[in-house]
Symmetry: C2
Subunit: 449 residues, 2 copies
């Protein structure tokens, strides 16, 4: 409560203030460039920020030296005078490494400052029989590959974040990942010493949370309130409210897979009964459709390529991994069994259609509860739900219409995720990149050492 | 994004700044006094705030003139010098009027700046057959009574807030209150012109939200994450996270009464099926216990008084209304049928016990879903659940233990609400009082005119 009316301004205080002013202004200039419609000049930046031309030039020079910015050819200009050199985010500086460990795959993506995916790898492997330390050593292999790829492409790893389908503490301890069978796995202790990470540590977070962040930044501005449902072997939810990830009291929100939909129904791995996962999880759907896939047969690395369109142009659906490091827009193939399910549904196979309607009904019941409780207006179907959304969404919408108190006058949008199966890895990499953009002084301080 | 490096300081800007500095300092001084362990002197305030003694004295004089503060006899002091006059919040200045309209009762409370309840009235009436305008004219009668009581006790109405069991927009329009049968009722238009309100308007909010705020401020510090379940004819939830009410994207969060607990179960007034209300609402419990109470017999005004203890001393359970205006600690009697249910449960009546276990099971299923989604660590049983908590809580805890993923290592507290049946009215009145304490300059400006 004690709050002095004036702060004495001594030399030390002034020095601190100048350092923090420089940090603020570096971030301000970088933000201007990141959000500009066309590469602004130094003069444009001075006008937009209210800083002097000399201050802007000094800041820009520091950001170029630190490989955060790059100069581009001037845009043609109709007015008088020589056109000025434009500035854009560098594509040869810091990059974020995003990793995901899930029940039946591992993924890694490397994203540069401009948001371009520079490397992408997916390994299909059933991790349920694999002990945590071994699973993490497979992740370590992906890290080594990504590190080599970063070197080859003249990128520097700015940080690494790992998505896990479970409950993660602030220190990166995985308290529980029921479908992996993990309990109290200290991921930073097991993986943080990897040489590529260079002692810079490793962020660990829940996969649905990171996928929701990926979706938030991939979606058009204004997509500020939604629940992202990550359908995999388990089902998680990432809740975004007013443009911010909602984490709950201890960071363990979003466990929609264990919301009861038939209170005395099927037993669940969590110890409960009638959990959503038992009716709408990937394995429940496949079993109901008669497509249960032995783990060894899942998603061969020769997965049939296909094309579809994403928000920023065509997305390529890849097999085991992107065919080269610059294959920036590939998304991993859904498990082969999920692809077979979609094919069966497309030809109106009765078992496939019934399995999808039943799963969507259970999903709709749980989602209606979420909307009644949280008042979000958009439901994003992610993970394996994304390629199945065409068949799932109508039933989910119908359950919402029946069960949500506000549905009559306040329609709820149900749509497929924009990102593919590696949304969580993309969200993880994006969170590293955004930290650099928001705190460029920290990056500059690191590279100066 | 445009952010000038310096703001030009002209005469007009200086005047604005001085006004806002005074506003800030008035609030600062008032907050010091409101949170102090003993009445501070002007000198104590100068030390605590860093303001000069002269500035503090001028601010305190304004706050005394505006009837926000009062001087009290000095506390005896062991040190040298004459003891100074202490300052406390005034008990004869502004007061907040909190109102609640629910399905089977109306409530009004008048709370002064010190948080003391100065007047309390409860009317038992079944409002389901009553059109909204008539129901609001009954509320108008409570407002008139409270206004007369404020005059008699030398209090000034600082504002009024009304709790409604439904979905309320930011402008006070009740979009839907299913159990009242209300749709698009413009409460401010129907009630805002009441002469006692003096054109100062009327805040309207969801009853579970206001009850949760009441509970937040009645509970010991540190009770920052909880879901307050308001069990009435309908069931609502107020979600408090990190000490703040969570309202959702449009202010319509917390509709736990319509979370499905048996997806193809009993039809609900909302149009859905298997909603929690149909299994754990007041009427469902009473019907299951064989105690369904015809509306005319509900809670006679001669309700048998009883005593119990609250956080600040004994709470008196009153009948129709507090017997005099100074009866600050009374809480309304639960519906007579709920009291009979509690008596039956206390003597192990099998139907009563089974009804309570069944209701608590349904409640536990819905609450487990809430905790899996929102990650709160405390469940507060409010409304008619408070006097039944002894029988409900064990089963709710058992369902949480079975169904919540984090329950094994992160125990969830399930407890009765501290406030009684008029928690929402208390929360409403408290919200008015807190606004005065946080923005005293607005109050002073009003009284000066």
């Amino acid at each position: 409560m004690a709050q002095p009316a004036a702060v004495p301004v001594g030399a030390a205080v002034t020095a601190v203030r100048q350092a923090s002013l420089r940090e603020h202004n570096l971030a301000l200039v970088l933000r201007q460039i990141a959000t500009a419609d066309r590469p602004p000049s130094r003069a444009d930046l001075a006008t937009a920020t209210g800083l002097t031309r000399a201050t802007v030039s000094a800041l820009v020079d520091d950001l170029i030296t630190g490989r955060l910015l790059t100069e581009v050819a001037p845009a043609p200009r109709s007015g008088a005078g020589r056109p000025a050199v434009g500035l854009t985010l560098a594509d040869h500086g810091p990059a974020g490494l995003g990793l995901e460990i899930n029940v039946d795959y591992l993924a890694a993506v490397l994203v540069d400052l401009t948001g371009t995916v520079r490397h992408r790898a997916v390994r299909r492997v059933d991790l349920r029989p694999v002990p945590p330390a071994e699973a993490l050593s497979l992740v370590g292999e992906l890290i080594s590959e990504a590190g080599a790829e970063a070197d080859r492409q003249d990128l520097t790893l700015a940080g690494t974040a790992l998505a896990v389908p479970g409950l993660v503490t602030a220190t990166g301890l995985v308290r529980l990942a029921p479908n992996l069978g993990w309990r109290d796995v200290d991921v930073p202790a097991l993986l943080g010493a990897h040489p590529i990470l260079g002692g810079r540590g490793l962020g660990v977070d829940n996969e649905a949370n990171l996928a929701a962040l990926g979706e938030l930044h991939a979606a058009p501005p204004g997509s500020a309130n939604f629940v992202y449902i990550s359908g995999e072997v388990g089902i998680g939810a990432g809740i975004v409210l007013h443009g911010t990830l909602f984490r709950g009291a201890r960071g363990w929100s979003g466990e929609i897979g264990h919301v009861p939909v038939h209170p005395e129904g099927r037993p669940c791995r969590c110890g409960g009964r009638g959990c959503l996962e038992q009716y709408a999880g990937q394995e429940a759907i496949l079993a109901a459709a008669g497509l249960t896939d032995p783990p060894s047969a899942r998603a061969p690395s020769t997965g049939r390529p296909a094309r579809r369109h994403g928000p920023n142009g065509p997305l390529r659906v890849d097999g085991d991994r992107a065919d080269d490091g610059s294959a920036a827009r590939g998304i991993p193939v859904p498990g082969a069994a999920i692809a077979r399910l979609a094919e069966a549904a497309a030809r109106d196979d009765p078992a496939a259609c019934r399995a999808l309607v039943d799963a969507a009904t259970a999903l709709g019941v749980a989602v209606a509860g979420v909307i009644n409780l949280l008042d979000v207006d958009t439901v994003v179907l992610g993970g394996v739900y994304a390629p199945l959304a065409r068949w799932l969404a109508p039933t989910v919408r119908a359950e919402i219409g029946r069960r949500v108190l506000t549905a009559a006058w306040s329609p709820v949008t149900v749509r497929a995720a924009l990102l593919g199966g590696d949304a969580a890895a993309l969200g993880a990499a994006g969170s590293v990149v955004r930290t650099v953009l928001e705190q460029p002084a920290r990056w500059l301080g690191r590279t100066a050492r």
